[in-house]
């Protein structure tokens, strides 16, 4: 958005002493991973993302601890507290601020500003790190193209101006900042929605601004210069070079004159390296063309030496790694890399002897040749380092074998349990009704199997994972069309079939629209071309969720009205749930600025409302669990299961709705409509067979529809299968401060609420409504068989899919 004008101005004004780089990060682009990558110079391993919430300290060799601290440099840190988690006691002094409350745009930044400027006048540090977080949080909450984002960037521009002023004022000979090197960089980018974690261009490409307070005497030869220039709007020339973030650690290490981190596979970047005047000889007195040549030759010699050390370090790391690692690199690739290294090394030791400094008197031929030779060296080492980095990027799949084995084990175990359960239930039925045998495989069964198989296969492909929501919707639509065909055939329930199709279309539209940060409703308004400022339309996004809530509670009342058992519990549940619905409405009313309620409640008091809702939900669940123990068996098994299911769902619903935010009630409504359609369409088959329960083949289409619907709802609520698909904002509803376990629970409820918790708990409906008349033990036997048969394919495909997905992500991340 071109808001950081001061950096652009500096880069175009001051010629060679400051520069803008396009810094390419390696995915995953989460902060913790990037910080690790920046300080160790290695490639982040994928499995670490899971640790992003509770960062364990880095134990590998890294820039901060092993090198800076051990070499007696004092490091001062301020800002994001991830640094302190990574480097618990390496900082000389630190001012950490909590980083995980994404709603808080200012605490970290204000803290930074408060400490940054005074520190610039102090002499008690060698390296100062200031990590600002406002832009990241503004992106997470509001998206990139938003007013808070622009505000934040403008604020940064001011801060940078001040910092640079201070630095410049002190940069005279003998000044405090004579040899200061100033870097401004982003550790990762953001998508347009303000999320990050993946590997798209927006997330990976960041900028790095580097400024040396002392001008280097000459510029590097063009062969090492990769910059591309363009004219900006004022007609000034702005040049960008490209740097890999991988190279950052070694380059900074080289600039500071400390050993390279052990595990780094980066290359010292010539442009960034040359920017600091410290890498050049002290400027001599004779300023002539000859002097320039001499400087350049010396710098290149210096740089070639640095690269030589760099290559040696990388080679050693690769050797150690492949000797110790189980998986390691393929041997032919290793040999190839080793060959390049040997060649470069031989070349170097061979030529270094012959290489004379070019004549002390006049620039002559030998000068030119020595430059060419040096250039050759640099190229040889660079090609070695580049090939190592490429090899590492392509092959570095560090599997967490134990975790994967565990996942596979859990999957197999669940499969085994399912099979056993089905066998047992089958036996139960055989006893109660021996006439039941297996019947033939129907066309519908085949088509369902086909759909599930397609879905499972689609998870083997990277591009299908990216568009999983669309694929799921496509399959849902297909099953909907099949149902429509069926209902035309039976001439019944046309409305349900069409409603189901319409629902899937609506889900699809809103999934596409809703991927932006705004509430689906208001975007819909804008799509219709309705002026946002109109007062009537302003109220609709506020009122529609409330209406949906009222409708939900009405449905709940009605569905329980004609059940007579468990009377006390029922009333208790209904009142609890409706009370929490009312609380949700109150919460939104308080949050909304539309109703212009006076801010009578502080933020702390405001948090009590969601907490009460969580408490009610939890209380309902635990009382349900207690009731399970104390209640003896009722005669009417079906009915009791029904009421238990309703109670379970109503207990969960309020929590899920409030965590989902304003889309919550609409999602719940969509859920109910979809479920109703699926159930009704499922009964289509059974009633046609003159109401007998004898036929035992489960109709698999409703189950498939149920499962696909759940997947669609997952995407509908604005999630997708990537780490940037997590809605971090949801973890802070009702709480302001960060607590790992609590927030993780809320986040997982948000993520899996609609797609897993509600549909799985709702599965008994599917069975109950298909067999409304089954009674007693026989009904129970049928019920359990049905239930297990119903759950089985769902879990089967789900778990298989997840397992494949997990492995694929591990392996495929570096491929893409």
């Amino acid at each position: 958005m071109d808001k950081l004008k001061v950096l652009q101005k500096l880069a175009s004004d001051e010629g060679s002493s400051s520069r803008i780089f396009k810094a390419l990060a390696d995915p995953p682009t989460t902060s913790l991973q990037r910080l690790k990558g920046l300080t160790t110079g290695g490639l982040p391993t994928f499995i670490d993302v899971g640790n992003s919430f509770g960062a364990p300290a880095i134990i590998e060799d890294n820039l901060i601890y092993q090198q800076l601290v051990q070499n007696g440099k004092r490091v001062l840190m301020m800002g994001d507290d991830t640094w302190v988690q990574l480097f618990p006691d390496q900082f000389e002094k630190s001012y950490p601020y909590p980083s995980f409350n994404v709603k808080d745009l200012h605490t970290v930044d204000d803290g930074c500003v408060h400490h940054l400027l005074p520190s610039l006048y102090e002499e008690d540090w060698d390296v100062l790190i200031a990590h600002f977080l406002g832009v990241d949080h503004a992106g997470h909450i509001f998206g990139v193209d938003s007013a808070p984002m622009i505000e934040k960037l403008e604020q940064y521009n001011d801060i940078l101006e001040k910092v640079i002023d201070v630095l410049k004022n002190q940069s005279g000979p003998g000044g405090l900042h004579e040899n200061t090197f100033f870097l401004v960089m982003g550790d990762h980018g953001q998508t347009l929605n303000g999320d990050h974690g993946g590997g798209t261009a927006e997330e990976v490409e960041t900028s790095l601004f580097a400024m040396s307070l002392k001008n280097p005497p000459a510029s590097i030869p063009s062969a090492l210069d990769s910059s591309s220039c363009r004219l900006d709007s004022d007609g000034k020339k702005i040049c960008f070079s490209t740097i890999q973030q991988l190279d950052f650690a070694v380059t900074v290490a080289a600039l500071l004159g400390i050993p390279f981190p052990f595990g780094s596979i980066g290359r010292v970047n010539p442009e960034l390296y040359s920017l600091s005047s410290g890498t050049w000889n002290p400027p001599g007195t004779s300023a002539s063309n000859y002097k320039h040549w001499l400087d350049l030759e010396k710098w290149m010699r210096n740089y070639a030496n640095v690269l030589c050390i760099n290559s040696w370090q990388v080679k050693r790391y690769i050797d150690v790694y492949s000797a110790s690692s189980v998986i390691g690199f393929p041997s032919e690739d290793l040999r190839h890399v080793a060959d390049i290294y040997d060649e470069a090394q031989n070349n170097w030791s061979h030529r270094a002897k012959n290489l004379s400094l070019c004549g002390n008197e006049v620039p002559n031929e030998s000068c030119d040749t020595s430059l060419t030779i040096l250039q050759g060296k640099i190229d040889a080492f660079s090609s070695f380092l580049a090939s190592v980095a490429e090899l590492a990027r392509s092959k570095w799949t560090e599997f967490d074998l134990t975790m994967m084995g565990l996942g596979l084990g859990v999957f197999l175990l669940s499969l085994f349990i399912h099979i056993v359960a089905i066998r047992r239930a089958d036996k139960l039925c055989q006893i109660s009704d021996p006439s039941i045998g297996d019947s033939g495989i129907s066309l519908r069964f085949i088509s369902t199997l086909f759909v599930v198989a397609i879905r499972a296969c689609s998870f083997l492909s990277n591009s299908y994972i990216l568009s999983e929501g669309k694929v799921a919707n496509f399959l849902l639509g297909t099953t909907g069309v099949l149902s429509l065909r069926r209902s035309i055939m039976k001439k019944r329930m046309l409305i349900e079939a069409v409603a189901f199709l319409l629902l899937s279309a609506v889900l699809r539209f809103t999934t596409e629209i809703g991927l932006s940060k705004q509430e689906g409703v208001s975007v819909f308004m804008r799509m219709l071309g309705i002026d946002e400022g109109h007062p009537v339309w302003m109220f609709i996004p506020e009122i529609v969720p409330m209406l949906a809530l009222i409708l939900l509670s009405y449905l709940l009342l009605r569905s329980t009205a004609d059940n007579y058992c468990w009377r006390v519990l029922k009333y208790f549940f209904i009142t609890g749930t409706i009370l929490s619905y009312m609380l949700i409405a109150v919460h939104w009313a308080l949050e909304s600025n539309m109703l212009a309620l006076p801010l009578v409640l502080g933020s702390v008091e405001r948090n009590y409302v969601p907490r009460m809702i969580y408490a009610i939900g939890f209380g309902q669940l635990s009382s349900l669990a207690c009731a399970q123990f104390f209640k003896q068996e009722t005669s009417n098994y079906t009915e009791s299961v029904l009421i238990k299911t309703v109670a379970m769902l109503s207990a969960w619903s309020s929590t899920i709705i409030i965590i989902l935010g304003r889309q919550g009630p609409l999602v719940a409504l969509a859920c109910i409509i979809g479920a109703w359609c699926v159930i009704r369409l499922g009964t289509l088959e059974e009633k046609a067979k003159d109401g007998t329960i004898g036929v035992f083949t489960t109709d698999p289409i409703p189950v498939t529809q149920w499962s696909l619907l759940a997947v669609c709802l997952f995407f509908y609520t604005g999630h997708w299968c990537a780490f940037d698909g997590l809605r971090y904002g949801a973890a802070f509803i009702g709480f302001d401060e960060f607590n790992l376990i609590r927030q993780a629970i809320l986040l997982s409820i948000d993520t899996f609420g609609v797609s897993h918790i509600l549909p799985i708990l709702g599965l008994p409906f599917l069975v109950l409504f298909q067999y409304p008349y089954s009674q007693g033990t026989r009904g129970r036997g049928i019920f359990s068989v049905k239930l297990s048969q119903v759950i089985f394919p769902r879990f089967d495909c789900n778990e298989l899919i997840k397992w494949v997905f997990l492995i694929h992500n591990n392996a495929g991340l570096w491929k893409s």
């Binding site: 492909s461 990277n462 591009s463 299908y464 990216l466 568009s467 669309k470 694929v471 919707n473 496509f474 639509g477 297909t478 909907g480 069309v481 065909r485 069926r486 035309i488 055939m489 001439k491 199709l501 899937s504 279309a505 699809r508 539209f509 596409e512």
Partner: protein, 229 residues
Amino acid sequence: MGKKTETNRSYRDRNASVTVSVSFMVHLICVLGLAIAFWVAQNVYSINLVSDPTQTLILLWVVESPIVILLYSLLRRNPEQCSYLKAVGRGIVGLPIGALLMAFGAVILGAPIGIQYLEKTVNWSLLMSLFTVVPTACVFGSSWEDWQRLFAYTKPVEVLDYIICVPAHGAVIGTWLGAWPMPLDWERPWQEWPVCVSYGAVAGYLLGILASLAFMLVFGGRRQHLKGE
């Protein structure tokens, strides 16, 4: 209603005039129409589905629609009660209605929405309508029973049913399969909506025609033979 069905049935039995050779001719002319449309697009306007999908689709359905409507109206049910012009009229009305149905189906299954796709979707659904709805409309009109029999039960009885039913199902299934390459990240121009879907539809239609001919030779021929005896 029941009585009408009875009369229909009797008509159908009496009026088994559509023979395998006639249906072969019908199919041949339809395929030739498609081929001519493709040829014209390629050689006269030098466009194809990939380079200019909208124009090509327009050309395809403009060339194909008179052929389909006029041909299938010849095969109409109950020629005594229903004039040729009426059948043509049914076909013309069926074209946009079928297009609406097809567009609805496509949008449910995930066709992109937006102004820039509107033209393509409209033209594609008109072509699909020609493959599926229009022949049925021309032949059976608004007889719900026949529609149900053909598209819900998929139980073609006589030669005429095979001519209509099998290619229509082929086109729909071909379209469905044709949508599969769309999410792949090959970034080829033909992965765009509705290019590969149109190819799938045409391919499915052609396969359906072949299949319907085969069916007719196997079942229809035997039936005719039995009748002859």
